[in-house]
Symmetry: C2
Subunit: 244 residues, 2 copies
DNA sequence: CGTTTGCTTGACAGCATTCAACGTTGGTGG
DNA sequence: CCACCAACGTTGAATGCTGTCAAGCAAACG
């Protein structure tokens, strides 16, 4: 099964936005038929990225944004000499690379945390098409704006919450996004290491591990390495809310 | 609406983007004459906001973005019951309110920290005009993208830096933005309290105060209440860089 | 001139980091 | 099949930074 997927060239599968099962999560939410057809011709290129490889790197020329078709990514900045900071995790149906618009160059690395496929959306053509279709224009603006709002939530988390509350918020966010994609919101398989979670939440890996153990002991989670079962979702929510 | 226009002496001044001294910092960077003229008709309304008053509040319907014409703002989220989190400070030439695009409602409060004036840019018309002018479209996208990049820098700061390093980064950012506006980069008058700086940097006001004292004692700053003189800018930069 | 608000400083407590040791897992090659 | 290694994860003890609580001071305002 994995063999047939890996061997078949993605492009040959003729993935089209109009028939993609992610279209109601991704860029084309609620688009009309004519626009969907135009989008199909725009989003013609696809790329496979193996686990551990980068989709783009900080400093690369910005030419396209990417939609995650399958798999899982992290974005990170690596201040030379310093430890990484993970700016986000992206799963199927989410867009990547919009940070590059401002300077025409990417400002972070995008790394696949498992074998993944992305759809390439040429940026110049996206701007051109969105001048023609107000619905596309507005949707793209909404996605950019949502990115800003999510970053603000993250800033609040980093600035105001304690370790256990941060981890609770992280887990709630992950389960919610998984649920939107039709997966169980109570059972998740983490694709990232404790260190990557720490680099995302502004914590050391030991602290992340300790918090997992604490939530396990408190009966909120069942943790076995990267398998996490959420036993008491309301307890997580309470941790996050009490933080305010 | 006509009442507020009448009350506002600003509107009577017939401020136009095409003749605004901030046009090379604000939205219309490098715009052509025809576009500037169209923008003049779009940005027809202006508002005065007195110190302490809000320009918009979380939950308000999103109808326009605002350009700071004069004065100084903070944006904040106030989780009910919890302490404020300041998401940013905005000075002349900067845009406010783009967080509202994603949900059609503002997600934060914008509060004037001194008597201020803003230009109102109706959002629907901005979208319409940017379908006509690719340069406007691209510039708006760049502004949104820059917002994302700045937020990422802030996340790195909150997640990875210690108190003194955060304050150094904050001061460097402020002086740089002041310099771009033609002010001295070594002498600044803070418009916000220690508590507001703390709510922005994820620190308590006492810690902010202590860090100011420390930098003062180290000969990096001269601090007298809200008057700050930067004596050794490279020392600030070094603090920030060593943090990586 | 008194009140309010904001700022500074000290002592102490608490939480996260640091340093270190050990356990687990999965892959590789003998 | 097993041994071994490397990467990842867990846990303990000690340190250190920031928060908390409290007191006093300075500046702004009516």
């Amino acid at each position: 099964m994995t063999a047939s997927l890996a061997e078949s060239p993605i492009a040959a599968l003729k993935i089209a936005c109009s028939s993609c099962n992610l279209r109601e999560l991704c860029l084309p939410v609620g688009f009309s038929k004519p626009l969907l057809e135009r989008l199909d011709t725009l989003v013609a290129t696809h790329r496979s990225v193996r686990r551990g490889e980068t989709l783009f790197r900080s400093g690369d020329r910005f030419e396209a944004v990417y939609a995650v078709r399958a798999g899982f990514f992290k974005t990170r900045v690596s201040p030379h000499g310093g430890r990484d900071h993970v700016t986000g995790f992206q799963m199927a149906g989410e867009l990547l690379g919009m940070d590059g618009i401002s300077t025409d160059r990417h400002t972070c690395d995008a790394v696949a945390l498992e074998d993944s496929q992305v759809c390439l959306i040429p940026y110049a053509e996206l701007e051109r098409l969105s001048r023609e279709f107000p619905e596309l224009q507005h949707q793209f603006h909404k996605i950019l704006s949502r990115e800003i709002v999510c970053d603000r939530v993250m800033m609040f988390l980093l600035g105001g919450m304690r370790a256990e509350e941060r981890l609770a918020a992280f887990l709630l966010d992950m389960t919610q996004r998984l649920e939107e994609r039709g997966f169980s919101p109570t059972s998740l398989l983490l694709r990232m290491t404790r260190e990557e979670i720490g680099d995302y939440l502004g914590l050391k890996l030991e602290t992340v591990s300790r918090c997992f153990s604490k939530l396990h002991d408190d009966g909120v989670l069942r943790v076995r390495q990267r398998h996490v079962q959420v036993l008491d979702r309301s307890a997580l929510a309470q941790l996050v809310n009490e933080a305010g």
